[in-house]
Symmetry: D2
Subunit: 407 residues, 4 copies
């Protein structure tokens, strides 16, 4: 790979990406464009502008954007249509944000004539894979720089030395090492590393960033109603909301009730296991609600097919293949199923758990006329079941007869 | 089908199966053998013996058996090795009990020279399918009698009239209609019908049979440790227990903390949707614990394959195909994966939720040496990730280049 | 089911459906509308009109339609996009025609105010299921009459008696029983029953309806080129053709070279095995050609996902679920993959076999620059493979180390 | 990776692996052990011994083994139980041989105290992955040396120079470059590269190594019968044979009739497409025969599950994951299905095609009593089909009613 001339950097304004910014300038002598996105991580973006300027970035080269609506509408919601869970439990909060960042990095590169993009993910994790596969899938000629895989700043001390040598301001509380590493966006907060590295030990409560410990959640349950249209949540308690507003509101509700905290040991795409504490308060409620509305609006054929495709779909997102033909194929199948996934679900939030307690819809397939224990007025002829069972049994009878014959 | 001469009836001792018993005698003039099983439903069995005798069954024709250990060891535990969930949520508590009952019915038929078996499931539900497919798979020549599909006792009044005419004792509290229908065994209690038929309305607390309402659960969390060997739970808090004893203990713990209550609208195999309230206190804890121990002892290849096979496996059990070649094939695959699923999981039980907080094992695949944020002493070469990403990206780059070329 | 008042009958003009026509009139006293479709079965349709009139059908109630283009465009081609094979070998020639017939039956019922449709499939086969599931999926209130399951005309003699009594003309060669049963349309001819019922015995050459025995095929191979656009064949040897014209031409070519004869024992949806001889000359060539063009235009992600979905897709069509949400979901995924499946495939036809010998496309993903044994000018860095392998191996190494540790 | 001290090299005796042998000695100064296996590639092995000795290998360090029976029994046959086809067409002839070679390399390394193994596969292909994943899965501490990814002998000229400098004898016909590259074993021969690199151009007949061009195959068909026991072929025309003997015989038959030649563009695991000409004469016959016996001995539940698992199974083998938990899980499922896959299949071999014409078995599930067009004496009640269809249709009717209601 030839040296990059102009690089778009995913820049948070924090110490690490500031060091990367400077390192790109000094190592490659290249022009740097910064991209700072508001994905709902809960940090102000303007300080990032000031820091970028301080590090010599031209105002025209500083991109700061609020992408929360795009994030929820085009990434989070499509994923929730699939009820995606990685390894049975993880709501993919980090995974789903990476393709959007890469998409904007590549677009800004094309707009500014940059030939490379750079990110601050390490060589051990999944995020490098997600950033880079997304970037290459969108622009096959782009260069991707991953400083953590290249430089020799392999210890905290070396990083701080580099920062000092290059006059990068270091906040007082960043001198020492953080007790664990955090990633956040509107869908979730993940914490991992250091104090969390022993999977046998319970994570301390102070790890929680946006969720109260369950014991401190209110002693009274709270009921809410979420309304869906074509598979996407559109209102809470009857109030219509934009995607990001809605997820923000669900996060408040979930956080207050201690909902959506997951302690997981998962399999990284790069081959090792890692332990994370994930907080997905709103997403956890949303998944329960979406399953609730599907219960009455999807038939078994669609529902079971979705369930069988889901693990593969979740794996693709986890592994970084959002922008791949196979994810798009699965999305087409999933989206096809959501045409009538409209209606309202009632949930009870209490002490860390979400309980689905009711659901109704004009598009409901639930037929009390058929299922009732009372007289069904001929809606269903129980004698049909005899034939149904006989023909389902036929092959089993032939097998049993064969196996007896051979004994 | 020619008329049966001798029938083995799945007999609970309750009013409905007593009516069936009498109806078989009067309708077919056949000899009846009763089979009453203790599956952990929490009822005494001896009254069933007395009632059977009262209805003229010869002592030799009365089979009363405690099958709880067989139930958990040979049916529940194999199913939990698969982390089976039907439609994403249902732990299959009713489904998994039916094949065992059919197995014993067929075995008793063969032992007593009976040519038929009979059950008390209606023509609208799944249980008829499960009973009958299992029976036919085990004995292709057996006759199966399903009185609910045959007789004209289509209302409560007609049933009671038949009972009175035939001198079947009717308990006072059975005169009126129950507000909902209940099925129970050691794994779960299901409630459905009547007051529960409107899926929009929250189920009243009095539906709960074995679980306290979450609000009434203790205000202090309780920690427990479950130990697994080769995929099956073998001890709680270090105390070794037999399968049924262990599940009974988990039920106590879960019931006390309000764990494992599910309000679900599901798709029946016979084509309609139904709403049920399921209580699976011990099973819910067991699933969380099993996933917890798999997190550190299964690699991603085995785990992801299991996840992708699970929906099909659960559907087979739900639909009544326990005794089918394809369920056995999937079981072989699943069991193959469990050889090293041994170790201990620590869980926190609180207010309706199970939180996995720690797990450890001699067979752990978690490698702190690889994952650590600290110096890994060369366990992992971050530069390998560059090649890994490049080759995973190659096809995406070729696609992107092709698509750009064609624009 | 209340008695039908007006029935649309799938009417071939042959003896069996003429008997059904008369039976509907006499049994139900209902008005009959006949629908006779040209699906490419190779019979003239006008005689069906005359016979219908002879049996008293009003001219307005006689529908005769050439649906060959719709058949190939909307049913055959979508299915071939999936490379569908049932049980690894069967090209689904009968299965795919049934939904179209049902669709027109239901549409004509709605246009003529009929409340029922009727078909001539027996109670042992798959076709009854396909006809009826399609009809119910398109009109939930339609009645479906399947005379073969209802009447007592259970022997050839009884059928002929009924025909004579009702003055239905019987062609001389229909007096005796046919040596086997045939179904045909533009995609295939199936033969089954009677002389073919022993699966151990080779089918005699005279069974073949549209394909020469391989030994009689030309001694010289013939080369052809098929061009695809977005997954569908559009030209042969550079000559653009409509879907039905193209398939007709491929049938001629395949038939001449003895291509596409399959002797299969398959599993019917109703639970029994049956043996059929299938001739799909054009379809067999088309499948090879479609796979050929996908080889260079689909990437592995899309291709492997398609391959994994295919068995389920084929099973759905075989079982009669063309008009089901899950078939439509799979179709959406498959169609999504075909956007760039355009280009030309060169095939050699010879003595019963189709050999793909070349393929080219503007949308090709094949990169000689990458794959070449010669100097690749840096298109591919072989050192990347080391990292790729290391990370793919990591979990296997961790497993091996664990397993060694436990020994 | 520290330098290896003693290396076991997969050594063919040819020029390339002789160069590798010498390069290992000179580059690493390490002791070399050679392993030469007879996998049925059709070359004598003793010359390899002489060449190894000539290059200074101690007699004790020269391992020459006939592994043909192990190859067919433990690798080829298990794979054929799955009817494995990669990308719908490729019988995995190269893929399946690599794990066996790696297994012996690792075993010899452990026996001789070697700390490394080496192979002659390039950095562009799949074989490097297969060799190395297998080696690491069997010994997590082994080093693997892949000279083609390390050295700078990047052209034919440099290789020959190195050979000359190191006094490696060069056969006259090896001076020039071969027109294409060949790999062979008892299952297949693959040819790729150079003259075959343009996928639009038909491969010339001279590429074929073990199969006659179809036009030159006999003008008379030949009938054979293959007998299976538990899924594996055990006899041809009634003559019992060992696995390797049987496959050898099938290769002769297939080669004579021009059977099993495949021209394929496939997706390599490393991300690029490549074109190969594969000859698998015996394997092609074996697949047809195995499918033939499964047709009558497997029920639809087992068969359809197998078909749905097969693409993943084939992909795992292609990608080099033979020694992985997920391949072993799938194998357990597949093997479970083969218990009664016993019986005989009759095939007609003619001009490049294999035609299954008959099959019979004591374990047959085919029931003429059920399927017959004649009177079935009550084996099957056609009225059962009505109930079967009604309940299969119920959800479709509810869907149709819902969709109409919403219009």
């Amino acid at each position: 790979m030839s040296a990059p001339k102009k690089v778009v950097l995913a820049y948070s304004g924090g110490l690490d990406t500031s060091i990367i910014l400077k390192w790109l300038q000094t190592e490659y002598g290249c022009e740097v464009v910064t991209f700072t996105a508001d994905l709902g991580q809960g940090e102000e973006l303007e300080p990032a502008r000031q820091k970028a300027e301080l590090l010599g970035i031209k105002p025209d080269n500083i991109y700061i954007e609020d992408v929360r609506e795009e994030f929820v509408r085009d990434f989070v919601f499509p994923m929730f249509r699939a009820n995606a869970l990685y390894e049975g439990e993880y709501l993919l909060g980090t995974s789903i944000a990476r393709p959007l960042i890469s998409k904007r990095l590549v677009e800004i590169a094309e707009a500014t004539g940059a030939d490379a993009v750079a990110h601050g993910a390490t060589g051990k994790g999944n995020d490098q894979v997600r950033f880079e596969l997304s970037a290459y899938a969108l622009n096959p000629d782009i260069k991707v720089i991953a400083p953590w895989r290249e430089w020799d700043l392999s210890s905290r001390t070396k990083l701080l030395d580099f920062a000092e040598k290059n006059q990068i301001p270091i906040a007082k509380n960043k001198r020492g090492e953080a007790p664990f590493s955090v990633d956040a966006n509107l869908l979730h907060t993940s914490s991992e590393g250091r104090v969390l590295e022993n999977p046998a030990e319970e994570a301390p409560d102070y790890v929680l960033q946006r969720t109260v410990p369950v014991e401190q959640a209110p002693n009274e349950p709270e009921y809410i109603e979420i309304t869906f249209e074509k598979g996407d949540a559109v209102a809470i308690n009857g109030e219509a909301m934009s995607p990001a507003t809605l997820l923000t509101k669900l996060n408040e509700l979930g956080g207050k009730h201690g909902i959506g905290v997951l302690d997981l040991v998962e399999n990284r795409f790069v081959g090792m296991k890692s332990r994370g504490i994930y907080e997905t308060p709103g997403g956890t409620i949303l998944l329960a609600a979406h399953r609730g509305i599907e219960q009455i609006t999807l038939d078994s054929g669609a529902g079971h097919l979705k369930d069988s495709l889901m693990p593969r779909y979740a794996e693709l997102i986890y592994n970084g293949f959002w922008f791949s033909p196979e994810r798009e194929m699965l999305q087409a199948a999933i989206d096809k199923s959501q045409e009538h996934v409209s209606g309202t679900v009632r949930l009870k939030l209490y002490k860390g758990a979400t309980h689905t307690v009711g659901r109704w819809s004009e598009a409901s397939l639930y037929s009390e006329a058929h299922v009732t224990f009372e007289d069904d007025a001929g809606a269903y002829d129980q004698k049909d079941a005899a034939g149904f069972i006989q023909l389902n049994a036929l092959r089993l009878k032939l097998l049993a007869a064969r196996n007896r014959r051979l004994k």
